[in-house]
């Protein structure tokens, strides 16, 4: 019985945020379409819009689904429903991460397909790492939002993550084997690239685990 309430709450969140999800996905898909032209300017524009679509969605979801829900006093309404405080927290974690993860997985998968079909496969590792970095940043922001429920702390996390993307991409591009192999016909997963990818996965898992742990220790929900 309670699973159905949890599911209803997740569906409610999806319904409330469907326009943001659809818009970001459409912009991301449009950006991928620009890749198909294989000309320099549309390619750069496509890469930029692709990243912007995912980064904006990654910032909007935690703010809109978690922080604003508290700020707009919806928590008392939701907590009047037949769920426990822990179930409410789990619902928020599931919907916030889910509403980002599904479009991210579709767009990241689409990007790899487009690159695999029409570009040198040497670009696949760096593309994977860059899209993985956006997922990692989202997890940091979403975890901060769920645990702190504070607009200020979530904004700090957004600023830190967004400002670190540029630095991280710059450093990744400067990894010697990346620069050497990005134009190659074969995807080469060097130990260094695998370490970066592993670090991204570790941060994602750590963020999810810490969020669940800290949330389960909360005593007050309003």
């Amino acid at each position: 019985m309670n699973e159905s309430v949890i599911w209803r709450l997740i569906l409610k969140d999806v319904r409330l945020h469907r326009f943001q999800i659809i818009l970001s996905s459409a912009v991301g898909a449009g950006a991928l379409a620009l890749f198909q032209t294989k000309r320099e300017v549309p390619l750069v524009l496509g890469a930029t819009w692709f990243s912007v679509a995912l980064i904006v969605l990654g910032c909007m979801m935690p703010i809109s689904n978690v922080v604003n829900e508290r700020k707009n006093h919806h928590v008392a309404f939701l907590m009047s429903l037949p769920i426990s405080a822990r179930q409410y927290a789990m619902t928020k974690i599931a919907s916030t991460f889910g509403m980002f993860f599904v479009p991210w997985a579709l767009l990241a998968g689409g990007a790899l397909l487009v690159i695999g079909a029409g570009f040198p496969h040497g670009a696949i590792p760096i593309s994977t790492i860059i899209t993985g970095l956006i997922l990692t940043g989202f997890c940091v922001v979403a975890g901060t939002a769920v645990v702190s429920e504070s607009e200020a702390w979530t904004t700090v996390a957004i600023v830190l993550c967004n400002s670190s993307y540029g630095i991280a991409w710059y450093l990744i591009i400067r990894v010697p084997e990346t620069a050497r192999q990005v134009g190659g016909s074969v995807a080469v997963w060097s130990p260094r690239l695998l370490t970066i990818l592993g670090a991204e996965c570790a941060v994602v898992i750590l963020c999810l685990g810490l969020t669940l742990y800290l949330q389960s220790r909360k005593r007050d929900f309003i």
Binding site: R8, N72, M79, P82, I83, A85, Q87, R219, I222
Partner: protein, 298 residues
């Protein structure tokens, strides 16, 4: 099944600048309890703890026989909760909220919801952001009442409403009690609202319950005596009297355990009794709070 809809036993919660201190109260099934207190008295904190929104530091809580907050998910199937700081989704319509509740509660009564929609002057297609404060409160109560809950917990539901809207809401609340198994805990600063519908009254101030009894008992026991005391006559503090205020020859005596012999006792001491008056719940509340703050148990 026990006889209480709500049982709080020795509930404590400490904040930096406020303590809820040893709150114990019981609400019998089928009754309406008004929880009255000034701003910052602890009414909302008590209700939030009862609803599992805030966890108590100590003490036991049961709602409809279920331990809170441990069993809140199942308890809240039968509890309708609304508070003045509760907000619905601005961008969605009243109808969307009704469908959302219907999808969660099997007990949702669609016909009653339509009836309330008409009585409250609401339309299903109206977005929440287009509603006035009074309409928002009514929409929230509609969502709560149409679930047909066994227990209603309402935290200042009539705050900020005009007299007509307040009357409509109080009318619906009394209608809820047509089913004898239902119970209501209703907090308010408005003693008139509480007096109108409550069977039992609990006064709370500065995180402590200062008094709790049947409304009729309050109104029966509390009296104000207007006296004239000639010079040289000292008014005695007789049993049942909790306050004497004297200005020149005129005095006002407040009794919280009024006995028919009290006026004649003052007459015997040399005073003239001009009037014995009933007190309103608001006057009883203010006297209770003042006495509590002076450190005297009434």
């Amino acid at each position: 099944m026990n006889d209480y809809a709500i049982e709080l036993d020795g509930v404590c919660k400490s904040y930096r600048f406020f303590d809820l201190d040893n709150i114990s109260l019981q609400l019998a099934r089928g009754t309406i309890m008004g929880l009255i207190g000034p701003n910052g008295a602890g009414k909302s904190t008590t209700i939030r703890i009862l609803m599992g929104l805030v966890r108590q530091d100590r003490g036991e809580i049961r709602a409809l026989g279920r331990r809170m907050p441990e069993e809140q998910a199942s308890a809240k199937r039968d509890i309708g909760f609304a508070s003045d700081d509760m907000r619905l989704y601005d961008g969605m319509t009243v109808g969307w909220h009704m469908n959302f509740m219907k999808s969660i509660y099997q007990s949702w009564d669609g016909d009653y919801a339509q009836l309330l929609l008409k009585r409250f002057g609401l339309r299903a297609e109206q977005k929440i952001k287009g509603l006035s404060h009074g309409q928002r409160v009514k929409a929230t109560l509609l969502l709560v009442l149409a679930r047909r809950p066994k227990l209603l917990v309402l935290d200042e539901p009539t705050t900020g409403l005009d007299p007509v809207a307040r009357h409509e809401i109080l009318y619906e609340l009394t209608g809820v009690m047509a089913d004898e198994g239902r119970s209501i805990l209703f907090s308010s600063q408005n003693t008139q609202d509480v007096e109108q519908i409550s069977d039992r009254i609990t006064f709370i101030d500065r995180g402590r319950i200062i008094d709790s009894m049947d409304k009729e008992a309050y109104l029966e026991r509390w009296r104000r005596l207007r006296l004239e005391a000639p010079a040289g006559v000292a008014l005695p503090a007789l049993p049942g009297v909790i306050g004497i205020r004297q200005t020149g020859r005129l005095a006002v005596v407040i009794a919280n355990e009024f006995a028919p012999e009290l006026p004649s006792a003052y007459e015997s001491s040399g005073a003239r009794v001009h009037a014995v008056e009933n007190m309103t719940l608001e006057e009883i509340f203010v006297a209770n709070v003042e006495r509590s703050r002076e450190g005297v148990t009434v």
